[in-house]
Amino acid sequence: MTHPMPTNPVPTNPMSTNPVPTNAVPANPVPGSGPNPPVPAGAPRTRIGRRLAELRARGEKALIVYLVAGDPDPETSLALLRAVAGAGADVIELGVPFSDPLADGPVIQAGTARALRAGMTPAGVLDLAARLRAGSPEVPLALMTYVNPVLRMGYRRFCAAAAAAGVDGLIVPDLPHEEAGELREAARAEGLDLIPLVAPTTPPERVAAVVREAGGFVYCVSLTGVTGPRETLPEGFIPLVAEVRRHTELPVAVGFGIATPAQAARVARVADGVIVGSALVRLCGEGLPPERLVEEAAALVRGLKAALKANAQGQPPAESA
């Protein structure tokens, strides 16, 4: 028997300069779907910021809709994205399916698993984004992705491919601000917003640090927990939104646990935007025929948007919160 002593020849990849060969660039780059054009300093840089500013000027609240890319399958997913954009979603948050979604509850875990089984990859997500962008040139689009798929492609390469696909921003739930410097730089170079998350457990001094270099909006996690519909929403987000507003002029959106029009309306009394995800992803898991699924998703989005509009008419704007 030989004396094996394999010293590992596996190269260690510097975190951001890692050109792993993948089909990162969308297969069909769409003309006119490029990165956001340069804008004057101080103004919102992306479609996300511009849309939220317009809504705020009108005293309206944003409906931000999350779907898992490729759930339940790539074609239905594209139809869903187009339908929710048409039904009144102000911002689309497109989830990049990842094998180990630590911040997600059972509903989105299941959606992620469906998308992965249907063959979705990060490159496939960017392709889907580009196809959505081709038909909806104005809809603000953020990718919600865990950090590992981005690391694997390389931060710079991922951001370049995302910008080329017409993506406006990134939300990375497992990248706290201490670890976000390199990705923020790569995103900024491509004109992408890196949207930070704050949680009810985040102490005030930390909120200031987290939002300092934010782009697009600030994502307030409504509750101490993972994503998923809740019967009742805890009140912890109210002081959190107020705390965030002390440190930034950026719009503030609240997500996690918001599933019904009534919950959305309640959150919209204090926030600039309401993020709804699991309620839609749950629909995707019901095994409906594609047309029916698309219809029901659009109806859900219309109902949520209507609740936000009714609320805006009956309530003073959020600045008073």
């Binding site: 394999p6 010293t7 596996v10 990060p122 590992n148 690391l151 102490p203």
Partner: protein, 429 residues
Amino acid sequence: MTVRALSQPDARGRFGPYGGRFVPETLMPALVELEAAYREAQADPAFQEEFRYYLRHYVGRPTPLYYAEGLTRRLGGAKIYLKREDLCHTGAHKINNALGQVLLARRMGKTRVIAETGAGQHGVATATVAARFGLECQIFMGAEDMRRQEPNVFRMRLLGAEVVPVETGARTLKEAVSAAIREWVTHVETTHYVIGSVVGPHPYPVMVRDFQSVIGREAIEQIQAAEGRLPDYVVACVGGGSNAMGIFHPFSAYSEVKLVGVEAGGLGLETGRHGAALTAGVPGVLHGCYAPVLQDEHGQIREAHSISAGLDYPGVGPEHAYFRDAGLAEYATVTDAEALAAFRLLAETEGILPALESAHAIAYAARLAPTLPRDAVILVNLSGRGDKDIFHVMAHLAGAGAGAGSGGPAGGRGERAGSPVDGKEGGAK
């Protein structure tokens, strides 16, 4: 004898490029608080004294360093010593860390602890210490591991812990860790998460290593007393890597001691079905730290495979990756079949049943010893005992007929035995 400085993470919790904190924002304040509480406890002689007291009187330390004369004679080469962590209370090194973390949790005012477990050893250790100190305890365990390690499931329940089956993915350790992290995110204000290995976000890798370093510190003294010198090799199995780092870290001061970590080769590296993150992984983020991990070209984490539930994990501790890159340790692999053969070899030559995890280290030593002169010394960390594995091993030996030992020194005399685990799946739920 050159004495090197021992490695420490930087302020961001990085060992070289590895480590860090990649967790949801909800957990960040808890990690900052934990780090501060740990540093404070570390500097507090009263805490250290309490930890030492329970290590001695409750865990049963120091564990012996045993000259394995029968094994040495059978292999016909270097002298083999075993660091008998299998003789710790609860049967594995895991309790060193569980004790340290539960004492810390109590000091922080937490009333509840949670933990993940693969082989069940860390779950049993945590449930044991939680029972001793009156903390509520919940253990997350993959449903497949509950089947493989049924005796440990029963033990945890007897100790008053709630064992939560995890049914997602491959239903093994990776999913158990994910489920525990989600539980922690939800109850972070009252609950301490007792991570069982040198993995996860900072400060876990350094904290778990420090609690486990008692193994290496004792072994240095004991081998000096027995041989009047340090060993030529220190060998330990590596899943997440806590028993290995616990023995390696103190020895890493001495450049003449070669440190070898043994990863799970599973069905063979070429099959892709293994648990060898350092040997075949690519750096990435899993469960809160940046370290080598088994993943595909899209950045999806791959399922690991090992006959041993405790090594069935696609990631590895960041400090091991640093040790590898810095040349402080080398890492090899041992297959399922070799580990099984080594399990029998140690039983036959020493009357000791090793845990299947530890059998990987024995298998490596069995390969290495015959290539070395008789005055060479190999120290193997026998991290746990194998009682928990006997039904699983019996089923494998029965399933493999006589062919347990491909390349192993024990040969194979697999007895035809009815598998006592068949039909019992989930029976204790």
